[in-house]
Assembly symmetry: C2
Homo-oligomer: 156 residues x 2
Amino acid sequence: MASLKDNSAERQEKKEILRRYIEEKGLKSTVQRDLITDTFLKAKTHLSLEELLREVRKKNPRIGYATVYRTMKLLTECGIAVERNFGDGQTRYEPIPESHHDHLICTGCGKILEFEDERIERLQYEVARERNFKVKSHKLELYGLCLECQKKEKRT
Amino acid sequence: MASLKDNSAERQEKKEILRRYIEEKGLKSTVQRDLITDTFLKAKTHLSLEELLREVRKKNPRIGYATVYRTMKLLTECGIAVERNFGDGQTRYEPIPESHHDHLICTGCGKILEFEDERIERLQYEVARERNFKVKSHKLELYGLCLECQKKEKRT
DNA sequence: TAGATCTTGATTTCGATTCTCACTTTTGAT
DNA sequence: ATCAAAAGTGAGAATCGAAATCAAGATCTA
Ligand SMILES: [Mn+2]
Ligand SMILES: [Mn+2]
Ligand SMILES: [Zn+2]
Ligand SMILES: [Zn+2]
């Protein structure tokens, strides 16, 4: 019974992290930040700012887009969100995952699949070590077509 | 005696590819295109447009930067250059290599090392296959510090 | 050499993101 | 509750890399 994807506990944890960060830094909590944070944590992941703003404005149409930019930067700073750039010229955000993962991106429909492969991770570090490189982060993205888009392509 | 890095033969091949492409498409060859292409093929690799333009203008200060953008797009189209994006907000270009490679990027000094690892490549395709994904391209970048920058860091 | 076609370079436009600033909200102290 | 200091907001301007526009120039072919 462990996977009904009820992430409300996780959401609470993340909001708590933000609360502490705001307190530490002498920042202020605002209705805008609360709304944006909630919307972000509940929404589908890998959201662009435009998508997030649209979602947020359903609840409060007066939110300015600068505020969404600023809030996402804040969430990234305090470590509950991660920025992603999949080469379409728009930064996307996802809630920071428990463990690292990489991405398969369908260039047909934009679908994004996540994967984790310990063997690849190990080999990356091996390659870096051989070159005296100290890896801080990495980016592995596979671009291609998902099954549905492969079928669509054949029909053409 | 196989590695004096005299790539003039390679350069000629690439220029020949461009010549054919220009002919096929009914384009015209111009002094600007020749100069930009030569400069690009001779320069250090992973050049940003700004860097390339600077180099080009040493020979001909009247070259406009739109021409450099257009020419690099052309070289990419005809398959003698590849675009790279290492997350610093500037597209970089390198002459298309004989075989695929990935990159280690030093976030300290900007140095870029290239590597090839057949094992990683294989695993990537395995991961994709398991998910019914047809990979068209991929991007693997390791960000971190080169040895020199690690030393500099310690001194701080 | 003419003339159709393509190319150029200066400039404008674009789209994503950041900045600016007058006005508002939060917060902690009275 | 009231106040003042500090931080946050939203609208619009500024920025930056890249792409589009367009009048003037170069190329190529018949
Ligand atoms: Mn993800
Ligand atoms: Mn390279
Ligand atoms: Zn798809
Ligand atoms: Zn370095």
